[in-house]
Symmetry: C3
Subunit: 177 residues, 3 copies
């Protein structure tokens, strides 16, 4: 593999950013990727408050400076006043990927009727795929199980490094040419 | 309960607003809420034409002046020239809730293939949840049955009053802390 | 039938527009419509590159000059840099129809997990319904089978000509008055 695989993990939480609350979402994403990816990768982690400008700046930095091919956020996707992660994501992306949010809400809805309150989305900025996840570790895992089979091919299409998965865990789907 | 529960019901229809047609949608929403909510609530009803500025002004008035925690519209969600309720809703909301429209279209699609023509959505303005419903009483009931379990918790999250439901009719889902 | 039924078919592909690649998508749409529509119709076909301004100009021309009641695009709906068909579509439409994209992704997802990478949508410009389809002929057929039952009624509602289908192939759904 020529290009190092760098993956951004952004925890968006007022309380976690002030240290009043242990960040559980960021570590859950990191552990999931550790289990699923079959090659070396470099996590680039950050915990920030639910502030739209800060989230936008961090997503831009991870994409433009850090060269992350995949940036996963956790938190800030609900209806409350301080929940602005989807708006920050949309404002830094050149194109949106509505299918991610639709599928994540569909699988979460099989568990809880309040899944429709989750506003999570995904989009592309340059050579980075940005995906919003909910805050709860259990919901993070359900959502990643649903969308991850499509992630490696998406990153191929935007000119990123080739991700490989442990097929006993997640089969990365790539169409035959 | 400290805060009075005020709920806006907005019928959007050129013909009903001119009195050429009996408003069936507004009363269907009111009756549904009467059946489902287990406490007192105050309906704030209005019938207006399919005029984007009027719809926006009415949604703003119900949210900002009338203090409605929930505002439900009926009508104006189709593809026709005069159908502009979703655009009016989006323009007065600070954040959109795509999961509501997705779920309502999904349940309606089990009945009629033309459900994909319905453009209904939901969003948040201040401390109000605004939900668009279709015009037909039967479809109103199907859509509310699908989304209502998530409505009380959504209103909790945006700082509104605590809604309680008759659990034999709709179980309001609130996650355990 | 009073008004001639004119249907636009737009193949969006850098390679096909340069003649490096045979256009398979456009002919697949044409053949599908030939099978499904039970009356005469006039195809208005065009092959253009993945250039946002060109796509916008072509959609405007087919709607405003050619008078197409239905305009179907193929290609340019993925996440890659040159995939801009949905953005071009959205920028020329007065209203968007999210239910089309949701349903097309849902049916494609039953076949391949990468269906969530498809950003296709639909919208209304004047008296034209514009629908984005993927590039692969097989996926085109699956998507049209899913959404076509709602297309004739949508065109009725926006003031277009009455489309009739071969009911052994697709039943056009029109609600009883």
């Amino acid at each position: 593999m020529q290009i190092a695989v760098r993956i951004g993990i952004v925890t968006v939480s007022d309380r976690a950013s002030r240290g009043e609350y242990e960040d559980l979402g960021g570590p859950a994403i990191r552990q999931y990727l550790q289990e699923v990816l079959s090659h070396d990768w470099v996590p680039v982690s950050q915990i920030i408050s639910d502030d739209r400008s800060l989230i936008e700046a961090e997503l831009i930095r991870m994409s433009d400076q850090e060269g992350c091919c995949l940036i996963i956020t956790t938190g800030g996707t609900g209806p409350a006043l301080r929940d602005v992660t989807p708006e920050a994501t949309e404002s830094v992306c050149e194109k949106m990927m509505p299918g991610f949010g639709e599928l994540m809400r569909k699988v979460s809805l099989e568990k809880v009727p309040t899944a429709i309150l989750s506003r999570q989305t995904a989009g592309i900025r340059g050579k980075s795929l940005i995906i919003n996840l909910p805050g709860q570790p259990k919901a993070i895992r359900e959502c990643l199980d649903a969308v991850f089979p499509a992630v490696p091919y998406c990153i191929d299409l935007i000119g990123g490094p080739r991700l490989e998965t442990d097929a006993s865990r997640i089969v990365a789907f790539r169409p035959r040419k």
